[in-house]
C-alpha cells in the first residue's frame, strides 16, 4: 500500500465508524502503541471533520503481553510506554486501533488492559491491515486492507510520524 491508499483506507474506516455508530456519541478512539496510536489520531481527526470531535487515548500493552515469561532475550523487548486513557470509559464505545492484525494476541492484551479502566458498552476493532493467521477468536470490525500472507512473510507498516513516510510493505522472512 502506498501513501494514497493508506489515506483512503483510514478515511473510509473513519466514515464507517460514524455510520455504524450513527454519529459520534460515546465514541472513544484508542490506539495501541506504537503505530496504532498514530492511525487512531488520524481517525479521530477525520471523524472530527466528518461529524465532530471524539476523545482519543493511547494504550501500551507491554505489561499485559503473554510472552513475558517466554521471550528471554530482552534486546527485542520494547521499553514500557505510557498508557493515556483520560476519559472514564464506562458505557462508552471504544474503537481500538492497531496497524496490523495478525495472531490476535496484542488485541487480547489490549482488551484485558482496557477492562481495567472501566466497563465499556462496546469495544470495536479497527486495523489498517488484516494479514490473517489468527491464534485467538478475534475479528476486526473495520479493516483497511485484507492482505493474505503466508506465516513466514513480514508485514511492515511505516507511518510518517515515526518512519518519515506512509507505506505498507510485504517482505519475506529469511530462513
Amino acid at each position: 500500500m502506498d501513501a494514497d491508499q493508506i489515506r483512503r483506507a483510514v478515511k473510509r474506516i473513519s466514515h464507517e465508524i460514524v455510520e455504524r455508530n450513527r454519529g459520534t456519541k460515546g465514541i472513544v478512539v484508542v490506539g495501541i502503541r506504537r503505530r496504532g496510536v498514530y492511525i487512531a489520531k488520524r481517525i479521530a481527526e477525520y471523524i472530527e471533520k466528518i461529524e465532530g470531535a471524539v476523545p482519543f487515548g493511547a494504550l501500551d500493552i507491554t505489561l499485559y503481553r503473554d510472552d513475558f515469561q517466554v521471550t528471554k532475550n530482552i534486546q527485542t523487548r520494547p521499553v514500557v510506554g505510557t498508557t493515556e486513557i483520560k476519559e472514564d470509559i464506562t458505557d462508552k464505545v471504544i474503537v481500538l486501533v492497531d496497524d496490523v492484525l495478525f495472531t490476535g494476541r496484542t488485541i487480547r492484551a489490549a482488551l484485558d488492559e482496557l477492562i481495567d479502566f472501566g466497563r465499556p458498552k462496546q469495544i470495536q476493532l479497527a486495523v489498517l491491515v488484516d494479514r490473517g493467521h489468527r491464534e485467538f477468536p478475534i475479528k476486526a470490525d473495520y479493516v483497511g486492507r485484507n492482505l493474505p500472507t503466508s506465516e513466514n512473510e513480514i508485514v511492515e507498516v511505516r507511518l510518517t510520524e515515526i518512519d518519515g513516510r506512509d507505506e505498507v510493505l510485504l517482505g519475506e522472512m529469511e530462513e
Partner: protein
C-alpha cells in the same frame, strides 16, 4: 539499551547514567497505573517477592509492597520481631531457607551495611537493597532523582544541597552517587560532627554556612536527624539543631523563589524542618512518596524482566526480531 546490567539493585554507586535513565523512563510509564480505577497490571504474575525488613519502616515497606501488588507479584513480609530472626537465626540461614521456597526477589532492609551484598553473593534470587545501615538506599535515591527531574528537567549543572546528618545517612549517599553521575552539583551542609571526613572525594562540595549552601540551590534535600544511629551526642540538643540548621520560613526566604524542598521522611517536625515549611507548596515531600511507588515498580519489573546481555551476533538478532514480530 532497555534493561539493567545487574540482576540486583544494591546501590547507585557505579550505576551508569544510561541504566538510571532506563529505570526513570520506565517509572514515568508506571506512574499512571496508580491513578487507574484498577491499580494493577499483570506484568509480574507468578513472581514471588519477599520483603525482609530488619529495621522499622512505614514508607519504604508500604511502597515496595504496593509496587509489588500493583505488578501482580505474590508477596511475603518478614520483619525481625515475630520471625525466627528473633530466635537467633542467622541472616544466611534465613535467606537460604527463603530461597529453598523458590522466590524470585528479596527486598532487604538491614542495619548492617553490606547485608544485601552478602545475600546477593549467596542467592539465585534478585536482591534489592531497601536500606543497609548508613550505606545506601538506592530506591530512595532514584525516587529523589525522579522527583528532581520531574521538577527541574535535565539535572546537568543543577545545584542540589543536602542538609543534615550526612555521616549517618544512606539517603545522602545514594543521592550523592546518583546525582553526581547525572552531572548535578551536590553540596552537603550540616554540623561538622555529621559531615564525614573526605566526603569531597565523592565529588561533592562541603559548605558549613547554611545560608551559602541554600541561597543558590535549585533543590534542598532536608535529611531526618537519625537519633537511633548516633552512638554519641553529635550536637548539644535538638532545639539547638533546629535553630542552627532547621529549615524554617526565614531560611526559605533566603532560597531562590523556585527552589524545591525535599525530605525523605519520616519528618521530625520542628527539628530539621518546621511545620509550615513542610506543609508549604515549596515542599514536594508527598510527591516523592507518590513517585516512590512508580520507581519501585520500575526496579522490580526491570529486575524480573532479566539482565541485559551483550548484544547477540547480528544474524541471531534479526531472527529474534522476526519471531517477535509474530506477536502482532
Amino acid at each position: 539499551m532497555n534493561g539493567l546490567k545487574s540482576k540486583h539493585l544494591l546501590g547507585l554507586e557505579g550505576m551508569t547514567a544510561e541504566e538510571m535513565g532506563v529505570i526513570l523512563d520506565t517509572a514515568a510509564s508506571f506512574r499512571e497505573i496508580s491513578e487507574r480505577p484498577v491499580k494493577k497490571v499483570p506484568a509480574l504474575r507468578g513472581k514471588t517477592i519477599v520483603n525482609l525488613f530488619f529495621e522499622a519502616s512505614t514508607r519504604t515497606r508500604a511502597s515496595f509492597e504496593l509496587a509489588e501488588k500493583r505488578l501482580s507479584a505474590d508477596t511475603v513480609n518478614i520483619s525481625k520481631s515475630g520471625s525466627s530472626v528473633a530466635k537467633g537465626e542467622s541472616l544466611r540461614d534465613t535467606a537460604e531457607n527463603l530461597q529453598a521456597m523458590k522466590i524470585d526477589v528479596i527486598v532487604i532492609r538491614h542495619g548492617a551495611a553490606g547485608a544485601p551484598h552478602f545475600l546477593a553473593s549467596l542467592l539465585e534470587a534478585s536482591v534489592v537493597n531497601a536500606g543497609d545501615g548508613a550505606h545506601e538506599h538506592p530506591t530512595q535515591g532514584l525516587l529523589d532523582i525522579f522527583t528532581l527531574k520531574g521538577r527541574l528537567g535535565d539535572l546537568k549543572g543543577k545545584k542540589v544541597t543536602i542538609i543534615g546528618d550526612i555521616a549517618h545517612s544512606r539517603v545522602a549517599r545514594s543521592n550523592i552517587f546518583g546525582l553526581t553521575t547525572l552531572g548535578a552539583e551536590v553540596t552537603v551542609c550540616g554540623p561538622p560532627t555529621m559531615i564525614p571526613p573526605r566526603i569531597e572525594e565523592l565529588g561533592v562540595k562541603v559548605e558549613m554556612d547554611l545560608r551559602r549552601a541554600i541561597e543558590d540551590a535549585d533543590a534542598v534535600n532536608v535529611l531526618r536527624i537519625q537519633l537511633e544511629r548516633q552512638k554519641v551526642n553529635l550536637f548539644p540538643s535538638l532545639d539547638e539543631y533546629a535553630v542552627v540548621y532547621g529549615i524554617n520560613r526565614k531560611r526559605v526566604a533566603m532560597m531562590k523563589p523556585d527552589c524545591i524542598i525535599m525530605h525523605p521522611g519520616p519528618i521530625n517536625r520542628g527539628v530539621e524542618i518546621t511545620q509550615d515549611v513542610a506543609d508549604s507548596d515549596r515542599a514536594v515531600i508527598l510527591e516523592q512518596v507518590t513517585n516512590g511507588v512508580a520507581v519501585r515498580m520500575a526496579v522490580l519489573y526491570l529486575l524480573c524482566e532479566g539482565v541485559q546481555k551483550e548484544p547477540p551476533p547480528v544474524d541471531a538478532a534479526v531472527e529474534e526480531e522476526k519471531t517477535d514480530s509474530k506477536v502482532t
